[in-house]
Symmetry: C2
C-alpha cells in the first residue's frame, strides 16, 4: 500500500520497541535544532539528545505566520492503548521525512508511574518512536520532578503555617513574619504586599499596622476541612491515597486526613501547560487556592508567601524539551499526561513555539490524551481558550481491537493474552463497535473543524475489518479515514494519513467552543455531560453541591471545566462500552484550580493515584552495567 | 595580610551572596572541562554551566598518579553555619587561581529542604562561591530527584506487594509473577534469579517448581512491623514524620504507621556516595534490606523485583556534576549533605575522578559535613574504607563566633539578631570555647594525618580574638592554624591557608581507622561514643537492643557504623557545648543500610525530617520575570 519506501531498515515481525529505539543512532540535537531554524543561543543542551528551548524564540518569530495546527486524540481505548502517541509520531515522520513538510510533534512527558507500573513508557512504538526512548520515559529534563517539588513545598507550607498559628499570638506571628533587623526596623517581604493588597491594607511600614490589621495579615486561619491541596508523587503508590499526617508527638495533635495524587495531576502541571510566559506562570502559581479561612475567604499560595519560590522551582520547566523521532523529525515534549484526572494536553507554549518554527506551510501536530470526551474536550474548551489558538484539523485514532471491544468483545486486560476474537476476523463485531467511533467523530465535528480518522493497523487486522471501519467513519461525517501502518513501517506507513491531514488543513474551518465560560458551573458541567458524554442528567453529591455553592460565592464560577472521568467509557462507568446514553453522571466532588484556571469535578469513583499490579513493569527493567544500556523498558 | 591582590572586584562591606554570584559571568563549562583535561566525549552538557562527567574518564586515567587528598570539616557549629563550604571553595580558589595548582573542589549537592527552609543554600558565600549558585541550590542535574523517585518506587513496591499477597493464594501469586505467554509458556524475569539463588532454587523453568518452592518464591511474607524503609521527600515537611497510610477503603484495612524522611537521608543517597561504579551500584541497590519476613529472613529490593528499575532511575545520577567557582576553578558536585542523619560526604566517584584529573601535583579538596564527630568520622571510617583512599591532610574550619558560643555565650538562633557578645571583643569567652576546637583537633589527629585549622574571619572579629584561637590550635597539636578571609576577598583571602595545606600534604602521614569492622556492633558504637564523643557509656533502648540482636543474627554485624547524631554537640544533647564528657549516649533505634554498607544507629531524639519555621526562606525568594533572574536566594 505505501507509495513510499521505508527509510528505516524495517523488519517483520516488528522487534521490541526498545530494540528498535536503540538500533537507530539519534542525531546530535544540535542538528535537529538547526534544521528547525533555532539559533544556538535559543536552547540549552541536556546531553547530546535533549535540549530545552527558550521562550525567546517565540519572541523572535512573533511576526511570523503560524503553521497548521492539528490535534490528535483517540476513540475510547482498551487498557492496552490504541497507539495514539505512535500515530502522532508516525504522522509526523510521514509529514517530515516523506512529504518534506516542516513539522513539529508536540507530546507530553510520560509519567514514571505507568512506566514502572502497568502501561510502560509513552514514546510511541515500533518504527514510530521518539528517541532516545529511555530519556523520554525517565527523568527527561526534570519538569515533573520540579512540579513535585513545588507542589509539596506548598503542601508543607500549609500544615506548618497552621502549626505555627496554633502556637502563637497574632503579635508573635506578625513579629516572626516581619522580623526586626539589628536596628529594630521591620520590613515586608515583596510577596507580602500581595496579601496586604488583598486585605485592602495600603501601609508599607509593618510598624504602622494596627493590632487588628496585624492579626488579619498574619493569621491565615485556614479551615483544615477546606484544604483541597494534596501532596503528589510521580510513583503509583496506592497506599498514599488516603493517609493521616501529623501523628508524631512533636506535631502536638495536629492530625489531618489527606493524601497523595500522581504528580502529573498537580494543579502546577496544569499551570505549566496553560501559562503563556514566566510572568503569567508567576501570577497563576501565586493565586492557586489551597482551601479557605474559617471565615470562608480563599487562601492562596501568595497568602502563604510561597508563590515566588514555586516560580523559582518551575523556571526551567517552562521551557519545552526538544527531542527527535526515529526519522529525525523534531519533537517538543512538554507538560503531562493523564487526561482523565488532569488537563492532559501538551503545553500552550510548546504549541506556540512549534507553530512559529514550522511557519505557514508547516505543521504542529499536538497530542491530546484519550478520546474526544477527555483530552480533546479539554484541548478545545480549556487549552484553546487559554492560548487563543484554534485547530485546523482533528485526527482521531481508531483500532479494530478497541472497536471490537466496543462491539461487545471480551474484556481486555493488560498482562493477560488477548481473546481469540481480537486476533481473528470478525467484521460484525467491529462494525457493531463503530458506534463508539461515530460518536467521537460527531463530538469532534461539533467544534467546526475537519476530522480525519487514522485507522491504526495491527498485524492481525483483516482488509475487510479495516474497510468496515473506514466505511463507518466516512458515513459518520469524517473528512477522511485512512488505514496506516506506521508501527511496522515508520513514516512510510502513514503517508496516506499525512496527505489526508494536509488536505483537511487546506479546507476552511469555523471553530466554536462547546460552552461559554460565563454560564453557571452546573450548566457547564451539564453541557459536557449531555452533549459530549450523552448523559441524561447529572447528579451531585452533597460535597459537590457545597463546593459549587462555595466556589460560586467566591467568584470562581466563570472558570471552564476540567472533568476527572474514566477514559474507558463515555460515561462514568468504565464497563459501559460503545456509545452509551441515558445514564446519570455522578459528580462526587468539585475542586477549584484557580491558578490553572478551571474547576475540576470528580466524576464517580475516579482515582487520582494509580496503583501497581502484582507484577509491575519494573520486574523487567534493568541496566546492562557493561554497556550502560537499559533493558526491558517498554 | 594577603600577599596576593584579589582578582575579583571585591567590595566592602561584602554584598549579598546572590548579588556577587550574579555579577560574575561564569565561563562556559566547556572551558572549565577542557582546562581540567576532560575530553569532549567525557561529559554531557546540562545547559552552559553544568556538565555531568562520565566515569570513562576515570578508566582513561587509571594508571595516572593521584593528587593530594584533603578533607575539610568544621568545629561544632552554631545554627548559622561556620562557613565550611565557603572555606572549602575559598581554599580551592586560592590553590587554583593564585598558587596555580591544579585543584578540584568536591562538594555535596544542597538539599532543597534547607534552601527553602531555614538555612538557605549551600554554594559557599561572599567571594567564595560555586556559580551559578541558583543552579547548584535548585534542581542541579536532578540527582536528588532521582533518589527520591527510586526510594519511593521501592516503598510503593513494599506495600503493594503485601496487599497483593494478602489477596492471593501462593499459586495465584506465582502465576501472576510468571505469567504464561500466548503459548502457555512461563519464564522468570532475570531479576527473579537473584531471589531463586537466595532460596537455593536452581531450576530455570517456572513450571518445574514444586508448590512449596512456588510459595517460598512468590510469597515474601513481609512482617509489617519490621519495615525500616521509609518514603522520602526533598522538602522540610514535619507533618510527614509520622503518618498512617492505607486508610482508603480500596486498601482494605491494610493500614500501617510509617513516615517520610528528607530525601538526602535515603539509603540510596549513601549508595550513590559509596558505589564504585554502575555495576557496584546495581548490586548495592538490589541488596538493600527493607525489613524481614515473618520468619525473620531479610527482604531485599531484589526480592521485590525492583533492583534493576532502581538502577535505571539512578543511571545518570552516578555521574558527578561539573561546575565552577567565582574564580573559575573546577568543582564536582555529587551526593548529599545532612551528615548528621546521613553519611553526608561527597561521593567516592567524584573524589576518584578529581584525584586523577588533578594529577600528582594537584589537589582534591573534599567536604565532609559538620565536625570531626560527624561528617569527618564517617569520611574516615566509612568512605575511606569503601574507596581505599586515604587523606593527606584534614582542614578544620573554626570561627570566633562558634567558639564564643562554646565558651558559654548566649544561644545563637537563626533569624534573630546576634547577641552583643558575638559582635564585640571578648577574648576570654573565645579562649574558653576553644576546648571544642582542641577536641576536634585531637579527633582528627587520631587518624594519623596532618591537621590544618582554618580560622574563618568575620568582620567583627578582633586581632586578639583570632590570635587566641590560633594559639590554642597550635598548642592542641595542629600542624598549622591560619586566619583567612576568603569571604571578603575570594581566593586572595585564603592563600596562607592554601600554602599551609600544600605544606601539610608534603609531610608524611600514617593513616589509621578508629575501629575494625569485624568488632561486634556495640563495640563499634562504643568506640565512636567514647573515643570521639567522650561519652562515659552507651545506653540502648529495647528497640535498639532488638535490632542489634537481629542484625547480628542476619550477619550484618560486620558493617561499619553511621551514627545519626546532632551536629550541635559532641553529645546527643545539642545544649551541651564546648567539650562535654561523662554523659551516657542513648541509642534509640538501629537501622541497617545493607546496600550502602553500614548500620545506622539513631542517637537520642534525632529527627530524620526537618521542619519549617514561621517565616521560611521562601518568603524572600522570587523570580524577576522580566530578567528571568532569581532574587532572594541566600
Amino acid at each position: 500500500m505505501p507509495n513510499y519506501k521505508p527509510l528505516l531498515p524495517v523488519q517483520s515481525p516488528v522487534p521490541e520497541d526498545i530494540d528498535i529505539a536503540q538500533s537507530v543512532p539519534p542525531q546530535h540535537i544540535n542538528k535537529i535544532a538547526s534544521s528547525l531554524g533555532l539559533n544556538e543561543d535559543e536552547y540549552d543542551l541536556y546531553g547530546g539528545y535533549k535540549a530545552k528551548v527558550k521562550l525567546t524564540v517565540r519572541d523572535r518569530l512573533k511576526e511570523a505566520p503560524n503553521g497548521k495546527y492539528v490535534v490528535v486524540a483517540g476513540i475510547t481505548p482498551t487498557p492496552l492503548g490504541e497507539g495514539k502517541s505512535t500515530t502522532t509520531v508516525g504522522l509526523c515522520q510521514a509529514l517530515g521525512a516523506y512529504l518534506n513538510k516542516k513539522v513539529v510533534t508536540c507530546i507530553r512527558q510520560p509519567s514514571q508511574g505507568p512506566t514502572f507500573g502497568i502501561k510502560g513508557g509513552a514514546a510511541g512504538g515500533g518504527y514510530s518512536q521518539v528517541i532516545p526512548m529511555e530519556e523520554l520515559n525517565l527523568h527527561l529534563t526534570g519538569d515533573i520532578h520540579a512540579i513535585t517539588a513545588a507542589n509539596n513545598l506548598l503542601a508543607s507550607a500549609i500544615d506548618t503555617r497552621m502549626f505555627h498559628e496554633r502556637a502563637q499570638s497574632d503579635e508573635a506571628l506578625f513579629n516572626r513574619l516581619c522580623p526586626a533587623d539589628k536596628n529594630g526596623k521591620r520590613t515586608f517581604a515583596p510577596v507580602m504586599f500581595r496579601r496586604l493588597a488583598k486585605l485592602g491594607i495600603t501601609k508599607t511600614n509593618p510598624s504602622e499596622l494596627t493590632p487588628e490589621e496585624k492579626g488579619r495579615f498574619a493569621r491565615l486561619d485556614i479551615d483544615p476541612e477546606s484544604i483541597t491541596w494534596r501532596r503528589v508523587m510521580d510513583v503509583n503508590d496506592r497506599f498514599l491515597r488516603d493517609i493521616t499526617i501529623g501523628r508524631g508527638k512533636e506535631e502536638r495533635g495536629q492530625e489531618r486526613g489527606t493524601g497523595f495524587d500522581i504528580a502529573v495531576s498537580s494543579e502546577i502541571m496544569a499551570v505549566l501547560a496553560l501559562a503563556s510566559d514566566l510572568s503569567d506562570m508567576r501570577e497563576r502559581l501565586g493565586r492557586m487556592v489551597i482551601g479557605n479561612s474559617k471565615a470562608g475567604e480563599p487562601v492562596t499560595a501568595d497568602d502563604l508567601g510561597v508563590g515566588g519560590a514555586l516560580t523559582v522551582l518551575m523556571k526551567d520547566a517552562i521551557m519545552p524539551t526538544l527531542m527527535q523521532t526515529l526519522e529525525k523529525t523534531p519533537v517538543l515534549v512538554h507538560a503531562g499526561p493523564f487526561a482523565n484526572i488532569a488537563h492532559g494536553n501538551s503545553s500552550v507554549i510548546a504549541d506556540q513555539i512549534a507553530l512559529k518554527l514550522v511557519g505557514e506551510e508547516g505543521f504542529c501536530i499536538t497530542e491530546a490524551g484519550f478520546g474526544s470526551d477527555i483530552g480533546m474536550e479539554k484541548f478545545m474548551n480549556i487549552k484553546c481558550r487559554a492560548s487563543g489558538l484554534t485547530p485546523d484539523c482533528a485526527v482521531i485514532v481508531a483500532t479494530v481491537r478497541a472497536l471490537k471491544m466496543h462491539g461487545g468483545g471480551p474484556q481486555v486486560v493488560a498482562g493477560t493474552p488477548l481473546h481469540h476474537d481480537y486476533t481473528s476476523e470478525n467484521v460484525e463485531l467491529v462494525t457493531k463497535g463503530c458506534s463508539n467511533l461515530t460518536r467521537h467523530i460527531e463530538n469532534a465535528k461539533r467544534y467546526g473543524i475537519p476530522v480525519v480518522i487514522a485507522i491504526n493497523q495491527f498485524a492481525s487486522d483483516t482488509a475487510a475489518e479495516l474497510e468496515a471501519v473506514r466505511a463507518v467513519a466516512m458515513a459518520s461525517g469524517a473528512d477522511a479515514a485512512v488505514v496506516c501502518n506506521h508501527h511496522g513501517l515508520g513514516g512510510a506507513g502513514a503517508t496516506d494519513l499525512a496527505e489526508a491531514v494536509v488536505q483537511a488543513c487546506s479546507t476552511k474551518s469555523d471553530f466554536k467552543f462547546l460552552y461559554e465560560p460565563d454560564l453557571p458551573i452546573k450548566a457547564k458541567i451539564e453541557a459536557i455531560a449531555t452533549q459530549v458524554y450523552h448523559a441524561s442528567g447529572v447528579e451531585y453529591s452533597p460535597e459537590a453541591e457545597a463546593q459549587i455553592e462555595k466556589y460560586t460565592r467566591m467568584g470562581f464560577d466563570k472558570l471552564p471545566i476540567c472533568m476527572a472521568k474514566t477514559q474507558y467509557s463515555f460515561s462514568h462507568d468504565s464497563s459501559l462500552k460503545g456509545a452509551p446514553s441515558g445514564f446519570t453522571l455522578p459528580i462526587r466532588d468539585v475542586r477549584a484550580s484557580v491558578g490553572a484556571g478551571f474547576l475540576f469535578p470528580l466524576v464517580g469513583s475516579m482515582m487520582t493515584m494509580p496503583g501497581l499490579p502484582t507484577r509491575p513493569c519494573f520486574y523487567d527493567i534493568d541496566l546492562d552495567t557493561t554497556s550502560g544500556q537499559i533493558v526491558g523498558l517498554s
